[in-house]
C-alpha cells in the first residue's frame, strides 16, 4: 500500500534483563542483582521496530530512528535494531545505577524527540522487566500528541490518519482511528519481528550511533513522580523455572521449553465430508453439554 507521504518513524526501545534469570535481589539498589544477567531488546519494542521498518518498506520513503536510554551496554540493543533495518540510532547514555521512574525517562525522551522530525512515534506496550507501560503515554502527554495503547493492528489509511485495532481482554478488539503524528504503544501480536541477515548485522556493527550524555538533559529532568519502596521476589514456584521433567517425551519437553512451560491447549479437528463434519461438531457440542442429547 502506498501511504503517499514520507513516513519518518521514531521507535523508543529499552534493553531489558531477562525475567527468568533468577539472580537474587539487592536491597541497596532495591533492584535485582545485575551480576550474571543477560540482556535483550524488550520484545514489545522489537515488535515496534519491526512495524516501523515495515511501514518504511511499504511507503518506500522515510527513515526509522531508534532511541534508547541506558548504560553503555544498551548499545547492543541499538545494533540489533539497526541490523533489523533501522536507519538511525540515538543512544542517551546513562551512567550510574540509580533508578529512573517512567516520568523521568519520558521527559528525557520527549526533550530529545521534540527536536526531531517524525510522523509517528512507536513504543512497546510495556517493558518485560518492570512492566510499567507508562513511558510512551507520558511522552505523548509531554509532546501534546494523541496516544493509542495496545495496538494489535495498524493500518495507515492516508497521510495523516491511522486505523487501529486495540487488543482488549479475552481476545476482544477495539477499532479506533487516530490522526498522526501520534504515539502508539504496540502489542507483541502486531507482527513477528524478523531475524536480521548476516550482511545487515555486519553493517550494523559499524553504523554510527549518535551518543548523548545524560548530563545534557539534567536541566530538563523533572523530579521522579514515584519511588520504589521495596522489590519482593516471587513465591517460589519451582515447576515453572525448573528444566522440563524427564518423564515427558522429547517432543513435549521441547514444547515445554519453547512455550515457557505452558501446557498444550486441548482441541480437535473434525474432518471428512460435510455430513461427517456436522455429526462431528454435534457430537462435540453434546459431549461438552453445550446442547442437549
Amino acid at each position: 500500500m502506498d501511504y503517499g507521504g514520507v513516513m519518518n518513524v521514531i521507535v523508543c526501545v529499552k534493553q531489558v534483563a531477562h525475567i527468568y534469570i533468577q539472580s537474587g535481589f539487592d536491597p541497596s539498589t532495591k533492584d535485582i542483582v545485575t551480576d550474571g544477567l543477560v540482556y535483550r531488546v524488550n520484545p514489545y519494542d522489537e515488535t515496534a521496530v519491526e512495524e516501523a521498518i515495515r511501514i518504511k518498506e511499504k511507503s518506500g520513503k522515510g527513515e526509522v530512528t531508534v532511541i534508547t536510554i541506558g548504560p553503555p551496554r544498551a548499545e547492543e540493543t541499538l545494533r540489533w535494531c539497526l541490523a533489523m533495518g533501522a536507519d538511525n540510532a540515538v543512544h542517551i547514555v546513562k551512567d550510574g545505577a540509580e533508578k529512573q521512574d517512567p516520568w523521568m525517562t519520558a521527559s528525557i525522551l520527549a526533550d530529545r524527540i521534540k527536536e526531531m522530525e517524525y510522523d509517528l512515534l512507536l513504543f512497546g506496550k510495556k517493558a518485560i522487566d518492570d512492566e510499567m507501560g507508562q513511558v510512551g503515554i507520558f511522552v505523548a502527554e509531554l509532546l501534546g500528541l494523541p496516544a493509542v495503547s495496545a495496538v494489535a493492528k495498524l493500518e495507515l489509511t492516508d497521510v495523516n490518519k491511522a486505523l487501529i485495532q486495540r487488543s482488549l481482554e479475552k481476545g476482544n478488539r477495539e477499532e479506533v482511528d487516530c490522526p498522526i503524528p501520534a504515539v502508539f504503544t504496540v502489542e507483541k501480536t502486531l507482527n513477528r519481528p524478523r531475524y536480521p541477515t548476516f550482511p545487515a548485522r555486519k553493517a550494523a556493527r559499524t553504523k554510527p550511533i549518535q551518543q548523548l550524555r545524560v548530563t545534557r538533559m539534567d536541566e530538563s529532568l523533572s523530579d521522579p513522580q514515584m519511588n520504589i519502596v521495596r522489590l519482593a521476589p516471587p513465591k517460589l514456584r519451582p515447576k515453572k523455572i525448573l528444566s522440563p521433567d524427564s518423564n515427558l517425551s522429547a517432543a513435549a519437553r521441547i514444547n515445554f521449553v519453547m512455550t515457557g512451560g505452558m501446557g498444550q491447549k486441548k482441541g480437535g479437528v473434525v474432518g471428512g465430508d460435510p455430513k461427517q463434519l456436522v455429526t462431528g461438531i454435534i457430537d462435540f457440542l453434546k459431549e461438552k453439554k453445550v446442547i442437549g442429547t
Partner: protein, 667 residues
C-alpha cells in the same frame, strides 16, 4: 601363418590405417571438447585446499579407489562392480593395444610379445568372460530384482552402458576367435577366444575374415562411443571417481568453513550457496562423480521415514542442472541460475540430520553435509528464511548462551552439592569437564553429568568446570547454517579457555566434543579435546577405576553419529562394555559406521517433526535384538531413544543409559 591386420585392408579404396586415424582423431577431439566444457564448469567453483595429507590421500586412493574397499558393503553389487572395475583396467589396456595396432603397420605394444604378453593375454581373455557374465548379472539385477535404491536413477543410461560393455566383450571375443582360426593357432589359454572359436567353426575363410574385420572396427567404434558417452552421463565416474577419492574430505568432523582461506566470516559479504558459483570445485566434481547407485539414500534416516530428502537425488539434480545451464554448444546461464527453491527445495534442506550415513556409504566419497549446510547458510544468513523453531533457538543461544534459554545464572544448578571445582575459584586443573547445555539443563542429562563427576572424583582426577562461563558450543547454530552465530559463540568460548589456560578438555556430549575438537582450531582454539568414553577407558586402563560389580544383562550400544562416523570412535565404548563383568553385548543390525541416526542431529532436536519419527524407527531396530539395557554416549541420543522406548510403552522393561552412568554404577 600370420593374419593380416584388419587395418591393413582397404575399405572403399581407403586404407584401414587412415580409417583408424580418423576414428581416433574424431573420437579424441569430441572427447576433449566435452571434457574441456566439464572442466570449465568445475573452474567456476570456489577454491578448496585438498592438496594436504598426500600420504593419507594416496593410501585412500589405493584402498578405496583401486581396491574398492567400500563396494562390498552391498555384497552382490559390490562384487560385480569390483569385477567390472578391474575388467576395465585390464581390458582398457587391451583395447588401447588393439587401437594402436591399427595405426601403423606392424606396430605392437612393447612387452606384448614376450612372457608378459602371453600371461596378460590369458588374464585379459579370462576377464572378458568374467566381465561379460558380471554385466549380464548386473542387467538381471536391474531388470528383475530391481533394488529399491535404483529408483529415480537414469536407468536407460545404466542399461546402455551395460550393453556397451557386453558389446565390447563380444566383439573382442569374435575378433580373437576368428583370428585364432585364421592363424590356425591353438590359442592356448585364451578361454573367451576358444569359446567363440566353437561358434565360428565351419565358417569359410572369407566369412571368418569378414567377422574378424567387422568385430575389430565395431570394437574400436564402440570404444570411442563409450569414451564420449562417459562425460555425458552418470558414467563420468569412470573418469572422475579416482580423483574424487583422492581428494576426499580428511577431517570429517569439521564442517567446511563458509569460504576456504578466510579467517572469519566478517571477511565475506555473502555466505552460503545461491548459484553454482558458490560451490567449491570439489563439490562440483562430486556431482560429476555420482553414479546414482543410491546407497546414500538407502541409508538416509530422513528418507527412511519418508521425509523429502534423498542425497542421491540432490547430486543428480544439481549435476543435471549444471549440465543444462552450461550446455555444450552455448554459454548458458550457470553463473546466475538460482538453486534454492528451484532445484533444491527447502523441505529437503531441513530434513537432513547431518548424521553422515550417506557419506559413509558413498563408494566415491561424495560429500553431502557440507553442501546442505552451505545451502542452509544462504537461507539463514542471507535471506533469513528458515523454520521458525530454529529462530527461537538462535535467539536463545545468542541471548542466554544456551539453547534451553535458561541462562548462565542457572547453569551450575545441576552441580549443587557435588563439591565441584570451578576454574574461577581454582584454575590449577589437569582437565576441564565440558558439561554442555544438555548436561547442564536437561534433567535426564544432568544425571549423566552427575555420574561422570562422581566417576572422576572416584578416580582422583584433578578436574574443574567453567561453571557460569560455559557457553553454548555452537554445534546447533553451525549445522543449521548460522555460521555468524557459531563464530560469536565459539570465539567467546575460546577466549574463556585461553583465559584460564585450559590445555585439556573432556566432554560427555559428542556434539560439543566434535565442535570443540574439530571446529574451534580454525578460530584459534588450542587445546586437546577428548570424549568421556575415551577418558573413562584411559582411567580403566590405568587402573584408576575398576569395574567391580556384575551386570548380568544383555546390553546394546547405539553409536552416536558425532562420536562414531564423524570421529571414528567405535571400539572404545564397546571395550568398556566388554569390561563389565557379566555383561552380554548384543549389536543392533545397523551398528558402528552403519549406525542409524537417533533423529536429533543437525538441529532436529529442536525442530518440529511430522509423520513417522526417526527415533522410533531406530528404537525398533535396536529392540529386534532384545536388549535389556540400551546404552549410548550422547545426551540427545539418550533422550531420543528413551522417548522411543516410551512410545513403545516399554518404559521400565528396557532401560536407556549413557555408558557413563553404567560405568559409575559398576565401580
Amino acid at each position: 601363418m600370420n593374419l593380416n591386420h584388419p587395418a591393413a585392408a582397404s575399405y572403399f579404396g581407403l586404407s584401414g590405417y587412415y580409417i583408424t586415424w580418423m576414428i581416433l582423431m574424431a573420437g579424441l577431439s569430441v572427447f576433449c571438447f566435452i571434457i574441456f566444457k566439464r572442466f570449465k564448469l568445475i573452474r567456476i567453483g570456489k577454491p578448496d585446499p585438498r592438496y594436504t595429507d598426500i600420504g593419507q590421500r594416496v593410501s585412500g586412493l589405493i584402498k578405496d579407489g583401486f581396491l574398492q574397499r567400500r563396494q562390498p558393503r552391498y555384497r552382490m553389487a559390490g562384487i560385480l562392480h569390483i569385477i567390472i572395475f578391474w575388467g576395465f583396467i585390464v581390458l582398457g589396456l587391451h583395447s588401447t593395444d588393439l587401437l594402436i595396432s591399427g595405426l601403423w603397420p606392424g606396430y605392437a605394444f612393447p612387452f606384448m610379445g614376450g612372457l608378459f604378453g602371453s600371461v596378460y593375454n590369458s588374464v585379459k581373455d579370462l576377464f572378458v568372460l568374467i566381465v561379460l557374465a558380471a554385466s549380464m548379472v548386473a542387467i538381471y539385477r536391474r531388470a528383475v530384482i530391481k533394488p529399491h535404491r535404483y529408483q529415480d536413477s537414469h536407468q536407460f543410461e545404466a542399461y546402455l552402458v551395460l550393453c556397451l560393455i557386453i558389446f565390447l566383450m563380444i566383439t573382442d571375443m569374435f575378433y580373437e576367435g576368428s583370428r585364432l582360426i585364421l592363424e590356425h593357432s591353438t590359442g592356448g589359454f585364451l578361454v573367451a577366444a576358444q569359446l567363440s572359436k566353437i561358434t565360428l567353426s565351419g565358417a569359410s575363410h572369407d566369412a571368418l575374415e569378414s567377422v574378424n574385420r567387422f568385430s575389430y572396427w565395431l570394437h574400436i567404434l564402440t570404444f570411442f562411443f563409450f569414451l564420449n558417452l562417459l562425460p555425458l552421463s552418470k558414467h563420468f565416474h569412470i573418469i572422475t571417481a579416482l580423483p574424487n577419492v583422492f581428494f576426499k574430505k580428511i577431517n570429517r568432523g569439521a564442517l567446511k568453513p563458509p569460504r576456504w582461506g578466510i579467517k572469519d566470516i566478517d571477511q565475506l559479504d555473502a555466505v552460503g550457496i545461491q548459484t553454482y558459483r558458490d560451490f567449491t570445485w570439489k563439490q562440483i566434481l562430486d556431482f560429476f562423480t555420482c553414479t546414482e547407485c543410491g546407497r546414500c539414500t538407502d541409508n538416509c534416516p530422513a528418507n527412511a521415514v519418508d521425509k523429502p530428502l534423498s542425497p542421491k537425488t540432490i547430486s543428480m539434480k544439481l549435476r543435471d542442472f549444471g549440465y543444462q545451464n552450461s550446455p555444450l554448444f552455448s554459454n548458458g546461464n550457470i553463473e546466475n541460475a538460482l538453486i534454492l527453491g528451484e532445484v533444491i527445495q527447502d523441505e529437503e534442506l531441513w530434513a537432513c540430520t547431518t548424521c553422515g550415513a550417506c557419506e559413509e556409504e558413498c563408494p566415491v566419497f561424495i560429500e553431502y553435509i557440507d553442501k546442505i549446510v552451505d545451502l542452509r547458510r544462504w537461507r539463514v544468513l542471507m535471506e533469513s528464511k528458515f523454520p521458525r523453531e530454529i529462530e527461537q533457538a538462535y535467539r536463545k543461544m545468542e541471548i542466554y548462551g544456551d539453547i534451553w534459554g535458561m541462562g548462565a545464572a542457572l547453569r551450575n544448578d545441576w552441580a549443587k552439592g557435588l563439591n565441584l571445582k570451578t576454574v574461577q575459584a581454582d584454575a590449577d586443573i589437569d582437565v576441564l569437564y565440558w558439561v554442555g547445555c544438555a548436561g547442564a539443563f536437561d534433567s535426564r542429562s544432568q544425571q549423566v553429568s552427575v555420574s561422570f563427576v562422581k566417576l572422576l572424583q572416584k578416580a582422583g582426577v584433578n578436574f574443574g568446570i567453567l561453571g557460569k562461563e560455559e557457553n553454548c558450543c555452537g554445534d546447533y547454530a553451525r549445522r543449521t547454517g548460522n555460521e555468524y552465530l557459531f563464530e560469536i559463540l565459539a570465539k567467546k568460548n575460546i577466549e574463556t579457555f585461553h583465559k584460564y589456560d585450559i590445555k585439556k578438555i573432556v566432554a560427555t556430549c559428542p556434539h560439543g566434543y566434535n565442535t570443540l575438537k574439530n571446529e574451534y582450531s580454525r578460530l584459534g582454539g588450542k587445546f586437546e579435546v577428548i570424549h568421556a568414553t575415551e577418558y573413562i577407558f584411559q582411567l580403566l586402563d590405568e587402573n584408576k577405576l575398576s569395574l567391580n560389580k556384575e551386570l548380568n544383562k544383555a546390553i546394546t550400544y547405539h553409536d552416536p553419529c558425532y562420536l562414531g562416523r564423524h570421529n571414528g570412535i567405535y571400539e572404545i565404548p564397546r571395550k568398556i562394555i566388554s569390561l563389565i563383568p557379566g555383561a552380554k553385548m548384543v549389536e543392533p543390525e545397523k551398528n558402528k559406521d552403519k549406525s542409524f541416526c537417533c533423529g536429533a542431529g543437525g538441529g532436529h532436536f529442536w525442530m518440529e517433526s511430522s509423520g513417522q519419527r526417526i527415533n522410533e524407527l531406530r528404537t525398533d531396530q535396536i529392540l529386534e535384538k532384545k536388549p535389556e539395557i540400551i546404552t549410548t554416549a550422547c545426551p540427545y541420543c539418550l533422550i531420543m531413544l528413551e522417548d522411543g522406548i516410551a512410545s513403545k510403552e516399554m518404559k521400565g522393561q528396557v532401560l536407556v543409559k549413557d555408558i557413563v552412568e553404567i560405568v559409575s554404577e559398576m565401580i
